[in-house]
Symmetry: C2
Subunit: 461 residues, 2 copies
């Protein structure tokens, strides 16, 4: 049901997109709008815009479309009359769940639970997933500190006005270049771009350096190991320092691959050592798989590449999973109801879709496809950077979760626009990287369509 | 299409609900689960549970169901094949909006925009609505302080590690008893219950007293005016004090009626004076209509009862609006793209539903119905508290957004369970209040069904 290639009728944005952008500009800031889409006509790997341009989508709504546009399995689900009421009546899941909720969660999220985790909490997006994961961590940490879960009178009183000890001075350690969302709690752990953080009050929480590795990783293993050791040492120093400051580190949050921050990788060893540091200092280890989860690295979770039985206390997700949420180890679950709570606690209609998405992933062996396409993509990028050493460097990736650096930001931005006008929709990340975030249905022949056209674009530059 | 009354087969939760609660308990904390629902069979004002009990729903999923369960207009929308792709392909609205987005927003949210506001930003829930509204406020405030919007080198550097001046020490003033959400930014302005806040780090932001009025308001206008004056004075004192502390108040957030905090009302005069104080001190005035918005007070927005042309800088919403978001005055819109941003920026499928909900509200004159039912409900509550003075007091309300106090928390909780076993689904709020949050299709005869049964319950106590 996929189209057989891109088809361009105008430059992008075309006249209709420009007109709609103007209209929307009276209502919102439209500075980030690329163009307007015709989602009805989009199919599989191809996004169609309102001017009839059909583009191979290698960005997929900021990496959030798991199995392409209008997948027949999802459309079919919509036409099943038994499912209608799930869309029409959004429940307050935490108090009045629908009959099929435990089964749907078991069929979907629990069937892909990370090693060692049998508990999952749905939330509506990646930010509330991380915010509530932080709260679980803080509650768990304070109960550990107290040795019991009965707060003092002073805690009960002070918390109502945001003061310690009721609202304790605890912190979450995060990494420079990390991205974990934009609500105020999440934003205190996000350090990818100035524009996200400027002018917003924040918490005095420690920020560790994330290894800046040389690629391909295999060729620079000694230098890279040194760089990783340096960062790990800094992590331990910060934990000690913040404890001394009276703001103990309750948790460490990290992405398996820093995405928004520029597709920064680290070795499985780095993560295993970091996990050990978290254990040693009694901090919860929180792996944020909002962008890496869902199969794009060739495994369902990127942390599976670390080969650990006990990878984390918390793994959060969103985007390709369609619902936000987080898995947690038993001891992290809040001790009382209503501590982790909000009106909707997710959206059962997204769980319905997720069940189907997982069926498609299994039926069509999409993780193997991703591994195959990813290999072709990365090899293609290696060849291109060999061919255009002045333009491209640092090709890297796992599965189709790939990236390459461009000489400078301006050239990167120009390449993105030129590629788009030729029917390739790509995204940037970090200061000067291009990131590849195709859907799981992006096959080897899509890789070749991309490489051919991208080659043409590079040749012009 | 509504049922003609409650119909109870078991006590609640019945055996099937208990079984499912046990099943879900292996996956999540289920301490807050009331019972499991059969949403297919629920209709209009009646929620049906998995044991076949049919209850008159006066709580409506924490006040989030606007026009009852399975409204035919919403079901019809689902069967229109033109709408399917909106459900199946959730876009990154901020960069790749669908063609009909400006029209749908114009038809829906803009058609009910508060006075003086022509700009609206959708978000996915009440928390991200408020979090992003705060960010808009902080950005606006800092640009005002600077006198321009070009940050210094120092700001650019410091913000990346959460430090001032890049992450400035600004604050939002909120009220004791207020509720604005549970993510860390929102939570710093929420002060309704200990359980929401305990153990979670927070910001040192000022908390003003909310007037504690005597009801009925008309009878105690002199005392109430004094109490309101005291609170307003305290607000000004706090603004001055926090400025001196180096943590200037950039915004004031308030609910038109404090909901979670116990249905606390204040007079239109109070809000008008508060609005003036915000102007005087250059703070943004942020009215949180997440629970009060959508028609339940008899006007679409509760702040309309204040009769002001320029009620606020920001009005946030969610729940009955089905999508979260906020309106803002032009000058509050962030100056650059990507400052207010996330992957989804709402969900167009919720906007589709909202268009239909607004059509139904207009077609069926539901605001007038609410006013009529609300009057009947409040009069009924006055009569009941006269009849049971030892049990009930402080009946209060606007539209059907009503509440009454019970002697103590234990009695309140018992009454709620007894009423539920007789087919009345009610919610609590504050320490000892019962809150009424029916859908907009709750008619006068539903009020009488409720009053009769509630009278029986009270007679037993
Ligand atoms: S914060 Fe996640 S949906 Fe609002």
């Amino acid at each position: 049901y996929d189209y057989d290639g891109p088809l361009m009728k105008t430059t992008v944005p075309g006249p209709r997109s420009q007109e709609l952008t103007k209209q929307l500009g009276d209502i919102q800031n439209v500075g980030a709008v690329n163009f307007f889409c015709n989602y009805e006509d989009s199919r599989g790997n191809y996004l169609v815009d309102v001017d009839g341009n059909r583009m191979l989508d290698i960005y997929t709504q900021i990496s959030s479309i798991p199995i392409g546009y209008n997948h027949p399995a999802l459309l079919k689900l919509m036409t099943n009359p038994n499912n209608l009421s799930t869309f029409v009546n959004r429940p307050a899941l935490g108090i009045l769940p629908p009959e099929n909720f435990p089964d749907k969660i078991t069929e979907s999220l629990l069937s892909i639970a990370p090693s060692g985790m049998t508990r999952v909490q749905t939330m509506a997006c990646g930010s509330c997933a991380n915010e509530n994961a932080f709260k679980s961590i803080f509650i768990w940490y304070r109960n550990k500190e107290r040795g019991h879960n009965t707060p003092s009178e002073e805690e009960l009183t002070t918390c109502m006005t945001n003061q310690a000890p009721g609202c304790p001075d605890l912190s979450i350690l995060s990494f420079m270049g990390g991205f974990h969302g934009r609500t105020l709690g999440c934003l205190a752990t996000t350090h990818s771009k100035v524009i996200h953080k400027l002018d917003v009050p924040s918490f005095d929480w420690p920020v560790a350096p994330f290894p800046r590795l040389k690629y391909p990783l295999e060729e620079f293993s000694r230098e890279n190991a040194q760089e990783e050791a340096r960062c790990l040492e800094e992590v331990e120093d910060l934990i000690v320092k913040w404890r001394q400051k009276g703001k103990p580190v309750a948790g460490i949050i990290i992405e398996p691959i820093q995405a928004e921050g520029g597709d920064n990788h680290a070795s499985p060893d780095f993560f295993r050592n970091l996990r050990n540091i978290s254990r040693k200092h009694g901090c919860a280890f929180h792996v944020d798989e909002v962008q890496t989860g869902g199969g794009c690295t060739g495994k369902f979770w990127a942390h599976e590449h670390w080969g650990m039985d006990d990878p984390a206390e918390i793994v959060s997700f969103s985007k390709k999973l369609l619902t936000g949420g987080y898995y947690q180890k038993d001891e992290l679950q809040a001790d009382k109801p209503y501590r982790i709570f909000n009106t909707w606690m997710g959206d059962p209609s997204k769980n319905l879709f997720l069940v189907e998405v997982l069926n498609v992933i299994r039926r069509e062996n999409l993780l193997e496809e991703v591994t195959r396409s990813g290999k072709a993509l990365l090899n293609g990028l290696y060849e291109l950077q060999a061919q255009y050493p002045g333009l491209l460097s640092r090709a890297r990736g796992q599965g189709t979760f790939c990236a390459i650096d461009v000489r400078d930001a301006a050239t990167r931005d120009r390449l993105l626009l030129q590629a788009r006008d030729k029917g390739m929709l790509l995204g940037g990340c970090g200061d000067q990287s291009i990131r590849f975030r195709p859907a799981l249905v992006f096959k080897e022949y899509h890789v070749h369509i991309f490489l051919n056209i991208f080659n043409d674009v590079l040749a012009q530059n």
